[in-house]
Amino acid sequence: MMILFSYLIFPGFLFSACVGLIAGWIDRKVTARIQWRVGPPWYQNFVDIVKLLGKETVIPRGAAKLTFLFSPFLGLLSAALVATILGVTVRLPLTSFAGDLIVVVYLLIIPAISVIIGASSSRNPLASIGASREMKLVLGYELPFILSIIAVIIKSSGGIQLGSILNHQINFGSNLVSWSGALAFIAAIFCMQAKLCFVPFDMSEAEQEIMAGALIEYSGSALAMFKLTKAILLYTIPLLLVILFWGSNLAPLALIGKYIALLVVVILIKNTNPRLRIDQALRFFWGPVTALAVIAVILAIIGY
């Protein structure tokens, strides 16, 4: 019963979705202010979701029906699961199980994969281009992301458990304040931007080129599910980065402050850059970002 509660309500699906939607509102509001606009009221994202849930879900002719409708679920379920694991870990670091970091890394790829599956099953040429871009992007950012996590693991004396990483930081200070930790953190921030599918790495949804690309055929509640997945990711990925790199003090207020700081970084990157081309993004991730992460790993091994 407790497990079900923590998965569905707190800190799982419902809670993370609400936080994510509020974070999404902060993003929209700050973006609007940067662009000299007014921006929506705080409940706008909730209203959007409710409205989408009430709309008809159109399935394109010739699409693989089951896959088309199943993939948004897949993404949402895994995103909610990550939110649960992270939320429980933050509250009770000792309850985390061995190897949960690996589970989290795996589960965080699934929303991207669900987008790819859903897009490919929709039989739309624009969606298939979006899917192929998303696939290339995943290949691009996963390598430096995992490398930067390896740097963290080495820093925390080899524990692949979120709880032990947190405990290590509580005892010895945040990973962020070491050389290797700082470099890995920068690399991870770029990966976070790509995982969240924000400018400059939003080419899978590039509105002006391929009209929402991967999501073009989705409507109604299926689209709402993708939006909720995005919202939950907006909550979980910065939270994961806080846990991994900045976990020395996770009292509620400090946690919120750190989370908002990361959110602001995301929003600023988003608003001061144009969209890259997919080949440029791939080159960027496999070049400088991977190099940064490798240096971080080497420094972590030497002990910096």
Binding site: I34, W36, P125, P200, E209, M211, P274, R275, D279, Q280
Partner: protein, 395 residues
Amino acid sequence: MSHKVVIPIGPYHPLQEEPEFFRLYVEGEKVVDIDIVIGYMHRGIEELSEHKHFDQVAFLVERICGICSSSHPYAFVLAAEDILGGEANIVPERALYIRTIIDELQRIHSHLLWLGLAGHFIGYNTVWMWAWKYREPVLDMFEMICGNRNHYGMSKIGGVRRDIRDEDIPILKKALDDLLPAVDMFRGAVMDDPVIKARLVGCGTLTKEQAIDWCTVGPTARASGINIDVRRDEPYGAYDRVDWNVIVEKNGDVFAKTTVRILELYESISIIRQCLNKMPKGEIDADIKDIPPGEGIGRVEAPRGECFHYVKSDGTNRPVRHKIRAPSYMNVASDKVAAVGGTISDAALTLAAVDPCYCCTERLIVLDKATDKKIMDGWDLIKLSQEKTAKLKKP
């Protein structure tokens, strides 16, 4: 791998604000061929204009395009004045300066509009919003001079309709001074940003030879190293009385097109300043009554390139023939070479980089393929549209 997929851009697509249709043939991300289909916005303006009298036509052609809404009436008025003996011979000096000021203000607002859209197309929405914010004071200047933000209604055969009041001149000068730092900012933000450079340099390159072959005009041609500008080559208005430069770039890519437009903003601001300083006092209208029989042409450098109007008069109060060639008609075609070979992302940008304006460009004629007989022209289309409207009005 030779697996061609057709990617449609249009007729309704967030990339372009007007209906048009580009069929991109792609292999993976690479564009191998492109079909350009226009004709969704045809309104039969030329035909309509032959049913209006000369004073009305200036207002009609103003509505060809909401962005170049000084260039089209100006070109038409020039064509009519060509029949009368040339603009310089009949139009009062002050009116020439006012025409030039309106024409250049229009260029500033059009280039800022394009800059914003270009930012939007590369996903840089901050540039979009900021460019349009700084475009607002330009529209305010228009409102001060002619009472309207977008359709100016200034051109009149033999002069202009409204004077610029002396008490407005300091306000206009101040607005121009305020605009300059904003243009500086865009120059810094767009031309020195490494990410924008990475995105725009080498994208959609149109070589000088291609630009000549495809008859491009305006900033599109000037970005490819062709040194043409109607304002200098065949001066009208007060352009030969002020100092300014034609901006030419060599590379022909989207970055060069952006550079040309940003640098032209400086020239426009300088032209307007000089005009405001030099403008003599006096009449603004030559009070032309009749247009004698004859033919005339008018060429104006619109923000997108050369805008050409041909008018034939038989001595009555309406043109017998009115032919319009808008710049986008030439520029859009050059996408056929510029966009092929790049990726879809680049193609989307390239299509937008000529600053296409479809409603200037549209023309339509329906032919029977077997007999080559005309079965529908502009007038039929208007009738069709009127019938449709009548049908819609019925409850």
